[in-house]
Amino acid sequence: MNEFHAELVRERSGRARLILCGAFLLLIGSFFRVQVVEHERFRLRAESNRLRPVPMTAARGIIYDRHGAIIAETVPGYSVALLASREDSLRSVLARFGRLVPLDSGDVDEVIERFREARYQPAQVLGNASLNDVSRLEEHRAELPGLVVQSEPRRTYPKGRAVAHLVGYVGEVNEGDLKVDRFPGASLGVLVGRSGLEQTYDDSLRGVPGLRYIEVDARGRLVREEGAAPPLLPTAGTPIRTTIDLPLQIYIDSIWPPGVRGAMVAMTPTGEVRAFYSAPAYDPNEFIGGISSAQWKALNTDPAFPLLDRVVQVRYPPASPFKLALAAMALRRGLIDLHTHMPEPCRGSYQYGNRSFKCWKKTGHGSLDLEGAIAQSCDVYFYQLGLRLGLNAILQDGVLLGFKEKSGIDIPNEVTPIFPASTAYYDRVYGPRNWSSAVILNLAIGQGENTQTLINMVRFYAGLSSGGKSPTPYLVRPSGAEPHDLGLSQAQLESIRTALIAVLEKGGTASASNSKDLVVGGKTGTAQNPHGKDHGWFIGFAPADHPQIIVGGVMEFALHGTVVAPYVVRAIRRYLLGPADSGKTSIRLLVPDEIPAGGGENSPESVPVDTGSAANTPDTAQ
């Protein structure tokens, strides 16, 4: 039988055709599955192969003062990054880069670190490049494969140091932040507020970053920067308007004595903060584009702690300004009125048990009523008033008046004041039998186990000098919390104001600070500081009959409150009378060195127990 008989061949040919067609159908089916059914999956895969997302920074929202002047804004800038496939190629490009734009070895290490964190994204080299640098780099683009230059909105603070603690500064989100989700919605490298208003209102200021895509080849080399895929444009942050009076803020910065540490804060009776100043300051502009490690180290090791916000992060003994708290407690309990005299007149000291407690005036004040005692800041009067109130009442009312809680201002990292909630505090700290009611005498003059932040004291005075309600201070949005009702009648408030005016008017402790055309009320204070010279306080308000502004200032090592008073008064005048007035003030300004040694306002000889605790030194936050 011949296998190549035509019939057999035709039969086999038919089978072969079937096999052929079957095989091609199988191929077509496979391609159909890959190209049509799974097209979308492979298209995405191809895009992730070749497209590298590059974040586009959103412009942070502008921060305005109450009149629309700019405190913080965003201007055009450039960032420069390098895309590399391997670390050694990145290093060699960086070496060539360094010949065009100087980089120190720390910068190089930082770039390598960024590269290791995200290999498929361009590693930022300069966060804040000048147009000059950018054009030099662009000229040598051929020698710098993977160079990505991007216009980047740059944060800038036109008034720099004057607003440092108010606005804070910005920094990139790092791995640590991501772990604890400190900035929800922000990804690695995005600029976020790390202090001040920038931090509190970061959510609205930040905006939403965009994305653009650059095209790379199989070895991760940059091929195309533009037009590889449509970008997702960033959304700028929302601007915020603050209650700050920028001219006042700048004025305070300009009159602040150089080298002096301290703080000043100005507030309206409703809690709107008009000025928020802490010294020494730093320049928030230095943080833009990443602060260099040397600068950061310098800021952190500076003995003056420039990063410390002395308005909300440092607790000082409230000293004499606290006497008004005591007066308020006694008045609201109806124990005394403004004309009540204490049993013992002031003879320069007060005998309690077997100890003698001094008044700041060695010759004594004689017999004073409350108004006189406030004006003269007589310690002996308040020792007795404290004893009349009793420890429990002082502690109970102190908590009620808000001395044990934060002011609630919309600035981050405010520290909580130290104030004992009850006598249990003393039992815990000293042991149940190791303290006596002599602690009352210390508390009565604002010393002892009581340290307050400047903002909290100013808040108390805002209530005291106006409607009797201590508002929650705010810079942007009111907290909505009910103000602290001091529980005083209008008549009582009126008489307290009168007494405070006397501080400056009728030969009171700060009378040199007052001037005829504007009546300023206020209270000086000198906080004992066993580690050095005493700290000075002054909290003032004006106009005295109907206060519109309350300003508090504290200067470390100023020796006496009268040193601070002129600065506060000048700030008040600048705010109420405008710039024309500030130049011709006749206040004699004392600088710390002119104060004779030992000129402290009160320096009780004996302290009830060893209170070498944190009471007298500024307690720093964290």
Binding site: V9, S13, A16, Q35, R43, R50, A218, R219
Partner: protein, 413 residues
Amino acid sequence: MRDLGPDRPLIALSVLLTVFGLLILYSAGQTDVPSIALGVWKRQAVWALVGMVAAAIVFRLSPRLLEWLAPVAYGGALLLLLITLVIGKGAGTAQSSKSWIVIAGHPIGQPAELAKLAVVLMLARYLGSRREAAQSLRDLVPACVIAGVPFLLVMKQPDLGSALVFIGILFAMLFWSGVRWTWLFLLASPVASLLLAFSTATWAAYMVVLFVLLLIWRPYVYEAVAIYVINSVMGAIALPIWHKLAPYQQNRLLTFLNPEVDPQKAGYHAIQSKVAIGAGGWFGNGYLHGPQKRLAFLPEQHTDFVFSVVGEELGFFGVLLAMSLFLALFLVMLRIARRATDPFGSLLVFGIMGLLFTHVFENMGMTVNLMPITGIPLPFFSYGGSFHIATWICIGLTLRVAWEARLSGYADV
């Protein structure tokens, strides 16, 4: 009026495929990063011309002469393969295997391409000369030896892809010579046993089925025993063989099952090829505009994976077009084989078709992970001198067989 010229559809399809291939090869060189593929289309065009001249020359050769010369060609091919094993070098895309003859530093060619053709000739002569179909499995042994010797020599290079082509040719020609498909199955059964042995249960079931089939199909008893024993042995040695394979060979087989086990190395080609083809969609990214190719994600885009460029740039329709051309070519060849005047010519053409089909199916299949990846070129598309010339020689031989048939008046069949 009878047309006595060469077969026009065959010429037309071959030229179309050659032009299509050159266009794609040109595109393969158009990358954003300079690659070696940049100018290869020009050299390929020269090879195409050389191939066409070669085709014209073999067209002049009488099938009788070819039949007479087949043993010489076969012997020469075996000799070249032996020489290659001794002095062979890696070159081009086959760096790791000793498949090239290199003289004075110049790669001359890959003898395996020639050997494929020689095996077709030799099998055509052997199978065509037999007056009767195989009566027993033992009758298949000589044919298996003819294909098996070059198969083993090429495996030794090692060039698995080319070696597989010999198997494709053998089965195609045995089928065309009238061997029953049940026997072809039994012939292939040891390989099936080898592959199934990795799952003991499956293998056991397979052996039971094989036993039943042997009872039904009733080959000679000793043959049935031999088949069964060989199957058992294959099953037994499967695992030892696996462990003797080099890790890269194991990886290749494993990544065929799942490319994602090693996406950066062994699975890289399979994945990137599929990504390029899949991203092409219905109509592709446009000629010259495939990003995967342009940005060098697609490996070997001018040789083994040239068809992925078709998929990426011309989409599913481009793929369909190329496949239609190939299918048409094979159907034309099938017609020529059917109408051939003598068994030698018929077997020759069918063997050529088997050769080219194995290449096309394996190459296209591996670009979408239908087949495991073996370095095997796509006729008319992949860059490579030896194979392109060999392909055109195949066309020349087929044209001659077609022409003979027309002269003899078989054209109407």
